[in-house]
Amino acid sequence: MSFTRRRRRAAVSVIAALTLGLVAACGGGSSETATAASTADCSPDGVRLTVTYAPYGEVAAGLAKPIFESRYPGLTVDLRPTSTVGYDDLTQQIVTDIAGGARPDVAMIGTGQLQFWVDRYGPQPIDPAALKPTYDQRFLEVGSVRDEVYFAPFQVSVPVLYTNLDLTTGAGVTELPTTTGELVESARRVKGGSGSAPVQIPRDQIADWPVQAFVQSAGLAYVEADGGPGFDSPEGVRALGIYEQLAADGLIDPISFADAITAFNTGRLAYFISTPALAAQAQETIGGAFEWTVSDFPVPDGGDPRLPAGGNGWIVLSDDACRAAYSAELIGEMLSPEIIVESSKKFSYIPVDREAAEALAADPAVSSPMGYAWRYEGTPTRFGGWPGDSTPRVNVFVEDMVQRLTRGEPTQQVVADMSARIRSAVR
């Protein structure tokens, strides 16, 4: 590249100017905590609320917009959907938007990303009073960080066990496993019958989700108060021993989550730990080809279920008190019982509204595998919680941990190894 000296200097100054310009352009959007206002103290005139969401949020946002705009004449709700395919993509998109100077007022995020958003982007706390009176308050724990509610869960699920009843009863197993010990035991018998590996636990995409469920259900914290991993202990190694046990006996194939879904839907997999959100698709694909059901997540022997909430919800990113107040109320509107019923029916999520839950309980499909989530009465916990922006890196380490364990590497060594890497990423 033979730039002349003069040209090089010119180029450098152009870059410098551009950089400064960009920094200046993006430097404006500060996110100081505005004092909570009530919509009663604000004028809706000329207020524009921007709402960003993944395709799952399309219906909710679309229905709430006209209702909200007619309630507050002069206020506009701007819908900015994304064409993302998962929650990591969604977060990337919102981060990019904010860097480009377009900070949304209301954003959908994955439940696992709450800590990241709270630590890095200072969202506004949501006043539970802004939600519908029938909103089920037990889900607010999922949205709380340091005793403040920042996130209103929308489409929520807990990890569950899918069982192909034809394969299990064919092998003489009639009880659904409720603990990991029973799962391993049943899997051995099923494998004896068919020969191929009968269990799948996600190894990618949502690999961290069942890991957290195993760890917490064994009575341990997933993330310690200092941000380190809570499973780097003999108890943690025991809680996570299931992967190695399954691998050692050839009860689990090292395949991707996507392939595992296919395997279950085509009747080749007996036990599949997954999300209830897949039940609708499973029902359509499986048709009447075989009997299957959805049941409780198998907890480590002697443990009690404490399951992290997967799925999504809404946060308020407004940098102005009045817009924040309107945003919280808009979220309340997007969480109306009708919308909750519709999305639960379509994708089988746990209803976060009591009125919606009653309506679903009366639905004939409640006893089908689709209905598991509708009947769910437990209280899910927060998902993730790694400090700052370490979440994406740590999740890769957790995924690597699961992949190594399902290859049959010794749990103790893998957990110690990965815990050290997680600690260095958290720091």
Binding site: R80, S83, A99, Q205
Partner: protein, 275 residues
């Protein structure tokens, strides 16, 4: 004579095998697009699904808004191509046929641009586009591709083989540069231009990363963005609709290739083979 006969048989066999490997995944895509929900995946290895459902196409068309998306895709691709030709044809001509100070150095910049991956430039570009308020507009989908290093490279290679006598004659006839470009250079590089046109349209028609960042308004979605609705990891991929959508958006590209292939094939060659 006999040997020739056997050679033909062997050759036909080879062609058949190769064609099968090349098109099998595409055949499977078409198969998936017409399969019923219960036979959409792993329905044995039969290329004919055990149940049919043309509803995949209906779903793909309606839910993904493929009509709008394909219209947008066409507008974006055609606009990009038109601008690229306007900028690159004259520049390539200058690089190939004119002598001016710094020409080779400037051309090295073009070559360097070939090496800069879009993944590295996407964010700075997005910040710049946002800073000037163009984000979420049709312009943002088009303007970053106003020039193409690849196009400059390809066209310059081709144009350098246009005989100088031809250009000289045009000058003697009193043609000015725009006329020379339009009446001599463009016709003589027709095949190269066709090549570049097809490749440019392919690339931008299937581009995902950049439109994902700047085309947020559903009215601006391009075909790959539209298909994202069937790829939601959490609720499971909608294989049937995804395949049907892919068939729908691939069809115009194949038709385009069929139309362009005569010129296209002559194109790359014309520029490269001396004599």
């Amino acid at each position: 004579m006999k040997a020739d006969y056997y050679w033909r048989i062997v050759r036909a066999g080879c062609v058949a095998v190769v064609v099968m490997i090349a098109v099998f995944p595409l055949v499977w895509m078409v198969r998936t697009s017409v399969a019923g929900a219960d036979s959409v995946i792993l329905d044995g290895l039969s290329p004919i699904p055990s149940s049919f459902d043309l509803g995949n196409f209906e779903r793909a068309w309606m839910l993904a808004g493929l009509g709008t998306a394909m219209f947008n895709g066409a507008v974006v691709c055609i606009a990009i191509l038109a601008i690229q030709l306007l900028t690159c044809v004259p520049a390539a001509y200058a690089f190939a046929k004119l002598r001016f100070r710094g020409r080779d150095a400037v051309f090295m910049v073009v070559v360097a641009c070939l090496l800069i991956p879009t993944q590295a430039t996407a964010l700075p570009l997005f910040l710049g586009i946002s800073a000037v308020g163009l984000s979420d507009t049709l312009v943002a989908l088009i303007i970053p591709f106003a020039s193409s290093a690849f196009g400059l490279f390809l066209l310059r290679q081709h144009m350098s083989t246009i005989p100088d006598v031809l250009l000289e004659a045009a000058r003697v006839d009193g043609l000015r540069t725009p006329s020379i470009l339009w009446r001599v250079v463009v016709p003589a590089s027709g095949p190269a231009i066709a090549t570049f046109a097809v490749l440019s349209i392919f690339v931008h028609w299937n581009d995902y990363l950049w439109p994902l960042m700047v085309a947020r308004d559903p009215a601006l979605r391009t075909p790959p963005l539209a298909l994202a609705v069937f790829q939601q990891a959490e609720i499971g991929l909608d294989f049937g609709a995804l395949a049907a959508g892919a068939v729908i958006i691939t069809a115009p590209i194949v038709v385009l290739f069929l139309i362009a292939q005569r010129r296209f094939v002559a194109g790359i060659a014309g520029g490269e083979i001396p004599g």
